[in-house]
C-alpha cells in the first residue's frame, strides 16, 4: 500500500507541474498582441503597462518568464504567497482576494458534499433494497426532480419561501437571506447562512448519487459472494451493509472526488444566487472582464484541487479494494 501511495503522490506532483506549464503557455505565450496590455486591466495607462511588463518580466525570453512564473508560485512575490500577481481591474493583490474567497467556497462545497453523500447513499441503498416498490419509485422520482430542476430556480424559490427577506408566508421564514457571514463574526449566523445554499447545491448531486448507489448496489447484490454471505447465516442487514455496500462504494468514491474538486471553481450559479462572493462568481466576473491574473489563478487552483482529490480518491479506492494495491 505504501508503495502505491508514494507512486501516486510522485505522479501527482508531475501532473501539477505539467499543469503550470500548460497554463503558462495558454495565457502568456499563445495569444497574439502585447501580454502586458492584457494583464494590465481594463483601461491601462502606459505606466501601468510598463509596470506590468516589469513585474511579470514580460520582455524576457519565454523560458525565463516561465521560470519567474513558477518561482513566484512556489516562493511568493512581493504581495505574499502564493505569488499570483496583482489584479489591475479591482486593484488588489490576487492572493488577498483568493484567500478571502476560498474559505467561503470551501465551506459551501464541503458542506454540500457531506449532505449529498449522506442523502444520496442512504436513498440509493433504500431504493436498491426495496427495488420496484413504492419507496424505490418515490426515491427515483426525487432523483429525476433533483437532476432536472434548474439550480437557480430552486435557489430563488427557497429564498422566496424560507428567507426572512423573501415574499412567502411568514411562518416559514426562519432562515436568513443571501450572503456569507464569516465564522469569526458569528458562528451561529455563519451556520444559518450556510444551510440554504448547501442544501440547494447538494440536491442535484444527491440525486445522481442516489441513482448511482442504487445501480451499483443492485449489481453487487447479484454477485456470488453475497450468496455465500447469506449461506453463512448472516442477517440480511449485515449482508447488505458489510458485504454489499463496501463492494458497491468504489465507483461512488471515485466520482465523489471529481465532483467535489470541480465544484471549487464551478459552483457559479449557487454562488451568484446566494450572493456568496466565492471563487466561482469571482472567476465568472473576471472572465467577462478579461481580468487575466484572476483567471490564471483560479485555473491553477482548480487544477491543483482536481489532482489532489484524484489522489485522495485513488488512495481511498485502494483502501477499499485491496486488489488495486498490487498494481
Amino acid at each position: 500500500m505504501a508503495a502505491y501511495i508514494v507512486r501516486r503522490v510522485l505522479w501527482a506532483i508531475v501532473v501539477v507541474f505539467v499543469v503550470t506549464m500548460l497554463t503558462f503557455f495558454i495565457f502568456y505565450v499563445l495569444p497574439p498582441g502585447d501580454p502586458a496590455r492584457r494583464f494590465a486591466g481594463k483601461a491601462p495607462t502606459e505606466e501601468t503597462i510598463a509596470a506590468v511588463r516589469e513585474q511579470f518580466g514580460l520582455d524576457k525570453p519565454w523560458y525565463e518568464q516561465y521560470g519567474l512564473f513558477v518561482k513566484n508560485l512556489v516562493t511568493g512575490d512581493e504581495y505574499g504567497w502564493p505569488g499570483l500577481g496583482f489584479s489591475y481591474d479591482t486593484r488588489v493583490p490576487v492572493r488577498d482576494e483568493l484567500l478571502n474567497r476560498l474559505p467561503r467556497t470551501l465551506f459551501l462545497v464541503f458542506g454540500a458534499a457531506i449532505l449529498w453523500a449522506i442523502m444520496g447513499i442512504t436513498i440509493g441503498v433504500i431504493s436498491a433494497i426495496r427495488k420496484g416498490g413504492v419507496l424505490d419509485r418515490a426515491a427515483m422520482g426525487f432523483a429525476l426532480f433533483g437532476v432536472s430542476a434548474p439550480v437557480f430556480w430552486l435557489g430563488l424559490l427557497v429564498l422566496f419561501l424560507f428567507a426572512d427577506t423573501g415574499g412567502g408566508p411568514e411562518q416559514l421564514q426562519v432562515l436568513p437571506g443571501t450572503g456569507y457571514v464569516p465564522f469569526e463574526e458569528s458562528p451561529k449566523e455563519w451556520f444559518l447562512h450556510l444551510i440554504l445554499p448547501c442544501t440547494i447545491l447538494s440536491l442535484l448531486y444527491a440525486a445522481f448519487y442516489a441513482r448511482m448507489t442504487r445501480g451499483s448496489l443492485i449489481e453487487t447484490m447479484s454477485e456470488d459472494y453475497i450468496r455465500t454471505a447469506r449461506a453463512k447465516g448472516l442477517s440480511e442487514r449485515d449482508v447488505i451493509v458489510k458485504h454489499g455496500l463496501r463492494a458497491s462504494l468504489t465507483p461512488v468514491v471515485t466520482m465523489f472526488a471529481m465532483d467535489v474538486a470541480l465544484l471549487i471553481g464551478g459552483a457559479v450559479i449557487t454562488e451568484t444566487v446566494f450572493n456568496w462572493q466565492g471563487v466561482g462568481s469571482w472567476v465568472l466576473t473576471a472572465t467577462f472582464n478579461s481580468n487575466l491574473p484572476v483567471v490564471v489563478a483560479v485555473v491553477l487552483l482548480g487544477a491543483v484541487f482536481v489532482v489532489l482529490f484524484n489522489l485522495l480518491a485513488d488512495i481511498a479506492y485502494a483502501w477499499l479494494d485491496p486488489r488495486v494495491r498490487y498494481q
Binding site: 508503495a3 508514494v6 507512486r7 510522485l10
Partner: protein
C-alpha cells in the same frame, strides 16, 4: 540421437498428410512490471519453445490445465498476438513476421471458434449478419443471403432464422452459429478454443459430432484446444499435452491414453473421474500442490517439483540431478510418440497412488 536431430524428427509430418501448420520453437513471454518505477521484474513464460506440425485434414488436440499456455498458443498460431520468438509456417509459408496487411488475405484460411457462445456473438447483430460478415470483408460472388442460409442448414440451424438475434437461440445453437461463421470462407484451418466447455453434456455431443462431420465434408484441419480429456480423445487424431508453456508429450490419441510415457500425462489421465463401477478402480496418481505459476519457472524440467516418477527413482521428496538442472528435450520414443522426459514411464512403473475409498 542428438538433440537437434530429435527436434527435427519431432517436426516430421504424419505419413499421409502434408503439413498445413508448422510451429517451431514458438515462445511468448509477457513482461511483469513491479515496484515504484514499474520496471520489468520478470516474465510470465506463457509459451516456451513449442514445436509441432498439423497435417492437412488432421485434428491435433492441445490439452492441459490452466496456465499451461494452450490458449496462448492458439492465438499465436493465428497471429492474434505476436510471438516473442520462434516461427509459424502456414501452408509452407513463414508467416511469423507478416504484417497486418500481409495477413489479411490469409485470414480467410484460418479461423477460430470460441469457447463462450454467449459473449462471442455480437448481441446487436442478427445471425445473418454475423455469419455473413466475413463475406463483406472478403468479397465473394453470389447472393450473400443464400450462401449464409446454406451454411446455416449445414450446421443444423433453421435457415428461416436468418433474421433472429443471438439471444433468441440456446447455447448449443449459438455455438453452431459460431461454427458457421468460422466456416463461411471455406478455411483450411479452424482453431477450436474450448468450443464445448460451456455447453451441457447432451449438447456437447451434438456439437462434437457436427465438427467431425464438417471435417470430413470440407477437408478441414483442426487445432482443438480443451482441458477435457474425454472430449479431446474423441475428436483428435494426435494429442499434445502441455504443461507450464511447454509440450511434454505428443502422440496419436489412442496411444496417448493407453500408454502415456510422460508422468504428467499419466497423472492427468488418472485424475479424470472415470466412474468405473466394475470394481476396477485404480487410484489417482498423487500430485502435490497446485499447478505452479508460469512466472519465472524453476530450472530443469518444469514438472520436477511434483513428478511422481522422480520420487520413484530418487526416493521420497528427492529428485534426480538431471531433472532438476537440465530441460529434457522432446525426445522420440517411437514412431509418432514423443515425450520430454529424462525418465519416461516404462511398463511396470508403480507410481504412488491415492487409496481410493
Amino acid at each position: 540421437m542428438s538433440e537437434a536431430a530429435t527436434q527435427a524428427a519431432a517436426l516430421e509430418p504424419r505419413l499421409r498428410a502434408e503439413p498445413l501448420l508448422e510451429v517451431e520453437h514458438l515462445t511468448k513471454r509477457f513482461p511483469i512490471h513491479r515496484g515504484l518505477l514499474q520496471r520489468t521484474a520478470g516474465y510470465v513464460h506463457a509459451v516456451e519453445d513449442v514445436s509441432f506440425t498439423v497435417g492437412r485434414g488432421e485434428t491435433l488436440g492441445l490439452v492441459g490445465e490452466s496456465g499451461c499456455g494452450k490458449s496462448t498458443t492458439a492465438r499465436l498460431v493465428l497471429k492474434l498476438i505476436e510471438a516473442t520468438s520462434g516461427t509459424v509456417k502456414f501452408n509452407g509459408r513463414d508467416i511469423t513476421r507478416f504484417s497486418r496487411r500481409e495477413m489479411r488475405p490469409l485470414r480467410r484460411e484460418m479461423q477460430i471458434v470460441f469457447q463462450d457462445p454467449y459473449s462471442s456473438l455480437n448481441p446487436r447483430q442478427t445471425v445473418g449478419q454475423i455469419i455473413g460478415a466475413p463475406y463483406a470483408i472478403h468479397k465473394t460472388e453470389g447472393s450473400r443471403k443464400r450462401i449464409v442460409q446454406e451454411l446455416m442448414d449445414r450446421v443444423g440451424l433453421n435457415p428461416e432464422h436468418y433474421n433472429r438475434y443471438p439471444h433468441e437461440f440456446s447455447g448449443g445453437q449459438r455455438q453452431r452459429i459460431g461454427v458457421a461463421r468460422a466456416l463461411a470462407l471455406s478455411p483450411k484451418l479452424i482453431v477450436c478454443d474450448e468450443p464445448v466447455s460451456a455447453l451441457d453434456v447432451s449438447i456437447q455431443a451434438q456439437i462434437l459430432n457436427l465438427l467431425q462431420a464438417l471435417q470430413r465434408d470440407f477437408d478441414l484441419t483442426y487445432l482443438f484446444i480443451s482441458h477435457d480429456l474425454g472430449v479431446v480423445r474423441h475428436i483428435s487424431d494426435r494429442i499434445a499435452v502441455m504443461y507450464l508453456g511447454r509440450i511434454v508429450e505428443i502422440a496419436p490419441a489412442d496411444l496417448l491414453y493407453s500408454e502415456p510415457r510422460h508422468p504428467y500425462t499419466a497423472a492427468l489421465l488418472s485424475a479424470v473421474p472415470k466412474g468405473r463401477v466394475d470394481g476396477a478402480q485404480t487410484g489417482r496418481i498423487v500430485l502435490q500442490g497446485d499447478v505452479p505459476s508460469p512466472v519465472d519457472p524453476p530450472p530443469g524440467c518444469p514438472f520436477h517439483p511434483r513428478c511422481p516418477k522422480a520420487h520413484l527413482i530418487a526416493g521420497k521428496d528427492a529428485v534426480p540431478e538431471v531433472c532438476r538442472t537440465e530441460m529434457p528435450p522432446l525426445g522420440r520414443l517411437s514412431q509418432d510418440h514423443y515425450a520430454a522426459c529424462w525418465y519416461p514411464l516404462e511398463p511396470g512403473d508403480e507410481l504412488e497412488r491415492a487409496a481410493h475409498a
